[in-house]
Amino acid sequence: MTLAHPTPVVRRRVARTLTHLSLVVASVVVLLPLAVVFLTSLKSEREMAKGSRALGLPDDLLNFRNYATAFQDGEMLAAFGNTAFILLFAVTGTVVIGSMAAYAIDRFTFRFRKLVVALFLVATLVPGVTTQVATFQIVDSFGMFDSLWAPIALYMGTDIVSIYIFLQFVRSIPISLDEAARLDGANAFTIYRKIIFPLLKPAIATVVIVKGITVYNDFYIPFLYMPSEDLGVISTSLFRFKGPYAAHWETISAGTVLVILPTLIVFLALQRFIYNGFMRGATK
């Protein structure tokens, strides 16, 4: 067993070690910046002023005072409230609108059906960031500017991906179910409400997760449409930390951790759904 002629077993072992090493390095690259911010959030103002090293441990591992500051002075509570409000309406709206559109497109033959499908199809190609210049004028003319309804309407109205996800699922529901119900005297709305909608549960779960995380993380739309301070959502409120706490990294870090924490909890609880959801959302 010399170095020049390694046996296959040795070679395989070396390869496996290198693979593992690359995975460990990648994990460190992902986790270290987050861990350092978490450590910083536990340091006191005095510690930071003394020049505590970024990788150093805080003096008191249970010092949560920065979190209190971030929560109270940073108005994070109001921000979480606003985000929850937007989430509730935007996600419900997306589910209702997406499933209705999918039902109509898949279960009915009507004039201009092809045109309607094409309208939805082409719209996926228009990236939202490009049109905001003109969307702004429309939102403003509806009187929704600087209100929570602006992001709600935009999130509901520009989500064509979820219509696709619903469409795939509606198609997999056998039409014989509709027909049986129709013979029993059900009309189109009853069929939608009592048969289609309940059977869409997996699609609804996907849309709720993907949409929920997208809305929670969005910065662009609330930043453009809700400049008022009391209408801050978590993204914009956290962004405002930049001004008053510019030199106070311990407070900014606490705010950052507060924003990441709910995502982490949801991710750990719903891992499998989240992977599937984003895979479906991106490939359709």
Binding site: T40, F108, A134, A180, N187, A188
Partner: protein
């Protein structure tokens, strides 16, 4: 079982049946009602689609030929002047070069994602842990990521401390010069978006039937040959999707540079510039023209991709 269950549920409230169950000699009003039904379902989705996608695109096209400032009631038609300005004023056009950094970064990102997806598609210890760690950044709030990496690149921040650990004292400001800042920001973008590419690739690889690998192994194919002849063809559609997402993503970068540098030190991207033109300098006309240019580029890229890789799955009807 779900069939009997649901029909039972529907059969119970017979009051909700305004038309006869057997559609034989349907009266006029019933026929009209039936024609109307799909439109009732489509009314809200179509109204939103037109109001927030098609009307803005149409308006944007119209604004782009005017000198409108976004507020005053007056606007005048100035022809293609805005477009001429975009392509002739170098400082307006150079934001496209910033996209180059992000484009290069996406190439690195796709390569890394492909590597990790291949590695983790085989049985590796702690596979789920690594998968979770690699994907999690994609779910994190953009502003939070911005702050995490502002601290990371700060003087004496995370990066400097790590470099000091391995004996390299650096005194450079990572976000100080244009090149260094753009590379740093593009790396943050790789950190953030790698997870999505990775999970897409992993899903595609895992949907390849396992017998193929077994057969290949029996035939004496090594890992490289398995990748070359089994994995690579299997993930081609997802790969092409990732490339298209990367290109349009690189052209419309906004969050990371806006949050971290505000577009200073030559990190301004096309979207930051457009937003500034429209909402800070009140040049709605010029901003609209810029947005139209970006839209056309993205549509062109998508069209080229569709031609190169005909996607049979995009069949809606």
């Amino acid at each position: 079982m779900p069939a009997t269950h649901t029909t039972e549920k529907v059969a119970r409230p017979p009051s909700a049946a305004p038309r006869p169950p057997v559609p034989r000699p349907a009266p006029r009003s019933v026929r009209l009602w039936r024609k109307l039904t799909p439109w009732l379902f489509l009314a809200a989705p179509l109204a939103l689609l037109v109001a927030f996608t098609y009307a803005p695109v149409a308006n944007m096209l119209a604004y782009s030929f005017t000198d409108w400032d976004g507020v005053s009631p007056e606007l005048s038609y100035i022809g293609a002047d805005n477009y001429v300005e975009i392509f002739t004023r170098p400082e307006l056009f150079q934001v496209f070069f910033v996209s180059g950094y992000y484009l290069a970064a996406s190439a690195v990102q796709i390569a890394l994602a492909l590597y990790f997806a291949t590695v983790l598609s085989f049985n590796v210890r702690f596979r789920n842990f690594f998968k979770g760690v690699l994907f999690f950044p994609y779910l994190i709030n953009g502003v939070a990521i911005g702050f995490v990496f502002l601290y990371f690149f700060q003087d004496g921040g995370t990066l400097d401390s790590v470099l000091a650990l391995v004996g390299y004292e650096s005194d450079r400001a990572w976000l100080g010069t244009s090149t260094s800042a753009n590379i740093s920001l593009a790396s943050v973008s790789v950190w953030r978006y790698l997870g999505l590419n990775f999970v897409l690739f992993l899903g595609a690889i895992q949907s390849i039937p396992g017998e193929l690998y077994e057969a290949a192994e029996l035939d004496g194919a090594g890992r490289w040959h398995q990748f070359r002849y089994i994995i690579a063809p299997g993930i081609k559609p997802v790969l092409s999707l990732s490339v298209i997402l990367s290109i349009s993503g690189s052209l419309s970068v906004f969050e990371i540079p806006y949050i971290m540098t505000g577009g200073a030190t030559g990190t301004e991207t096309f979207v930051i510039q457009t937003i500034d033109l429209a909402f800070r300098f009140n040049k709605t006309g010029l901003a609209s023209a810029a947005a139209v240019v970006l839209l056309l580029i993205i549509l062109a890229v998508t069209w080229v991709q569709r031609r190169l890789v005909p996607d049979d799955k995009v069949d809606l009807t």
